[in-house]
């Protein structure tokens, strides 16, 4: 037993953080959760959930949110995986420059980044202007406030998370393993799928989770690019709470968002990568 590892010292180190989270993070969440089941009369009720779940608008919004997350995530893999793979193969200096170019957007205000799409997709934005000028269209069409706009915005927003997660996963699998596979007779593509992919599988799953849950709960992008026309779970929740003052419904949506996130995170944790083929 380490002499300094007494219960008293441990209490002083962990106590403040634990107390803070219990008081100002876990209690409010528990309160909201309990409230969502509290009946006006009697003990517990599922009436609030029933009310929300049968609501046509909620169903539509839930499915739309899910659909967009399901579209953005594979797109992020498609763009992110090859880029991350290439980045890990570059010499250190080039790689660190590219890495900081990926980190930069991650550190920049999502509001500022999303606003760029208003400029690009707007009525007089670059796409409409080009299409009209080239004669493909008579007049500008509406690109903003569509699901497509939100998908593009989310993809750009979460791309860095995917790339960075993959780069750090691929870095951990040494170059020699791939070379060994090549020397043992795998061809390039064979060694890629049999060695690189399994070794970065855990990172890939992590990236997928981050992007998927990010899309599922993102607020800024759908708020700016979807507005009140194309609602997602989070913008619907805000509307219920702050515009319609329907707190019960907002609470139920909040609980659904938490549950979805937790299920996803734990689901991925159970996923273990295959060992080397």
């Amino acid at each position: 037993m380490n002499v300094f590892h007494s219960k008293r010292r441990l209490f002083f180190l962990l106590g403040p953080g634990t107390a803070f989270l219990l008081l100002f993070f876990l209690s409010p969440l528990a309160y909201v959760l309990v409230e969502s089941f509290r009946a006006d009369e009697g003990f517990i009720t599922l009436a609030r959930y029933q009310e929300v779940l049968v609501d046509q608008q909620f169903r539509k919004v839930f499915l739309r949110t899910l659909r967009m997350a399901l579209i953005v995530t594979p797109l992020a893999v498609l763009l992110g995986y090859p880029s991350a793979y290439l980045m890990t193969k570059l010499p250190a200096r080039k790689k660190s420059i590219l890495t900081s170019l990926v980190i930069l957007p991650l550190m920049t205000s999502p509001v500022a980044r999303t606003y760029a799409w208003i400029v690009i997709l707007g009525k007089y934005g670059i796409i409409n202007e080009t299409m009209v000028r080239l004669g493909f269209m008579q007049e500008p069409t509406r690109l903003l406030y569509t699901e497509g706009a939100i998908i593009v915005g989310l993809l750009q927003l979460f791309m860095p998370l995917m790339v960075l997660t993959l780069v750090s996963a691929m870095e951990n699998s040494p170059e020699e393993v791939e070379e060994a596979a090549l020397s043992l007779g795998s061809n390039r593509i064979g060694s890629f799928f049999r060695v690189v992919v399994p070794l970065s599988f855990e990172g890939l799953m992590m990236g997928v989770t981050l992007v998927f849950t990010g899309c599922f709960t993102a607020y800024v992008t759908p708020a700016i690019l979807g507005g009140a026309k194309v609602l997602t779970l989070s913008t619907l929740m805000r509307q219920k709470a702050l515009v319609l003052m329907n707190w019960e419904a907002a609470t139920v949506i909040a609980v659904i968002m938490i549950l979805t996130t937790l299920v996803l995170y734990n689901g991925v944790r159970m996923f273990r990568p295959r060992t080397l083929v």
């Binding site: 010292r9 953080g17 880029s83 509001v111 606003y115 707007g122 390039r188 593509i189 709960t217």
Partner: protein, 259 residues
């Protein structure tokens, strides 16, 4: 050869997609028209002047700055000892503790903000500003724990023990030997946490009230009413400042290894 060309092509597309919007926004902020046209017509800096003249932007900037600094500082104060215990000690229930410490980063921010609004502001009547500060501290906590843990893991425990064997108490050894060597990790945690707070929307969304809003929230409100390049100008300012901070932090602290 064919394969690496394909990779290069995808990578270039990815970077254009990632960074193109930044160029677009900066270029558009210098337009002279009051519509969001791209490419813009004419050249002016009027939107920058406008940003600086809008009082709500100035006011909310200070709210964001104060909240960010205060919340970051508190999160570090709570996070450094917690990180220390989790890196150096073995104790029963450590796994559960680690999950709890990272939970604010997993629960959607919007839900956290909403829960704080219902629990504190309506039930206990805490001022909105306090709710904002508490909410931001909670979500920054996992960042500080993670970054400080990473730099503690890189610091040989034997060095602390050497200090203790030479007569330091564990507390003195921490301040005399550990702290000076994890300073850059703590600084990195500070910058990452502050930027996270400064950019945050979901937590702040429900924790704003009359007269209290953060800068990103104020930008969203402005967008609902006006459709001119003012937000482009403000976004450009934010982008440039972020670039400077991130570059400096990368040079001095190697921040990218903590992201």
């Amino acid at each position: 050869m064919k394969r690496s060309k394909f990779l290069l092509f995808i990578t270039i597309i990815m970077f254009i997609f990632l960074l193109g919007p930044f160029v677009v926004i900066i270029v558009s902020s210098f337009g002279s028209e009051a519509v969001m046209r791209f490419p813009p017509k004419g050249f002016s800096t009027q939107w920058y002047e406008k940003v600086l003249n809008i009082e709500m932007f100035r006011k909310t900037f200070w709210v964001s700055l104060k909240t960010g600094l205060l919340a970051t500082f508190t999160a570090l104060l709570l996070g450094v000892p917690a990180a220390y215990a989790n890196v150096r000690w073995r104790y029963p229930g450590k796994n559960a503790m680690e999950i709890m410490f990272s939970s604010p980063a997993i629960v959607p921010g919007l839900v956290v903000g909403f829960a704080l609004l219902r629990f504190f502001i309506y039930v206990t009547q805490v001022p909105v500003m306090v709710g904002l500060y508490l909410g931001h501290t909670a979500i920054l906590f996992p960042y500080t724990v993670r970054v400080v843990s990473a730099s503690l893991r890189n610091f040989d425990e034997g060095i602390e023990e050497a200090a203790v064997s030479l007569g330091s108490s564990p507390l003195h050894a921490f301040f005399a030997v550990v702290f000076p060597n994890i300073r850059s990790g703590i600084a990195a945690a500070f910058i990452l946490a502050f930027i996270t707070s400064f950019n945050n929307v979901p937590i702040s969304l429900f924790l704003t009230g009359p007269g209290v809003a953060t800068l990103p929230i104020q930008m969203l409100i402005y967008m609902e009413y006006y459709f001119d390049p003012t937000i482009s100008a403000l976004s450009s300012i934010i982008i440039v400042i972020t670039v400077i901070i991130v570059q400096a932090a990368e040079k001095m602290l190697g921040i990218s290894k903590y992201v």
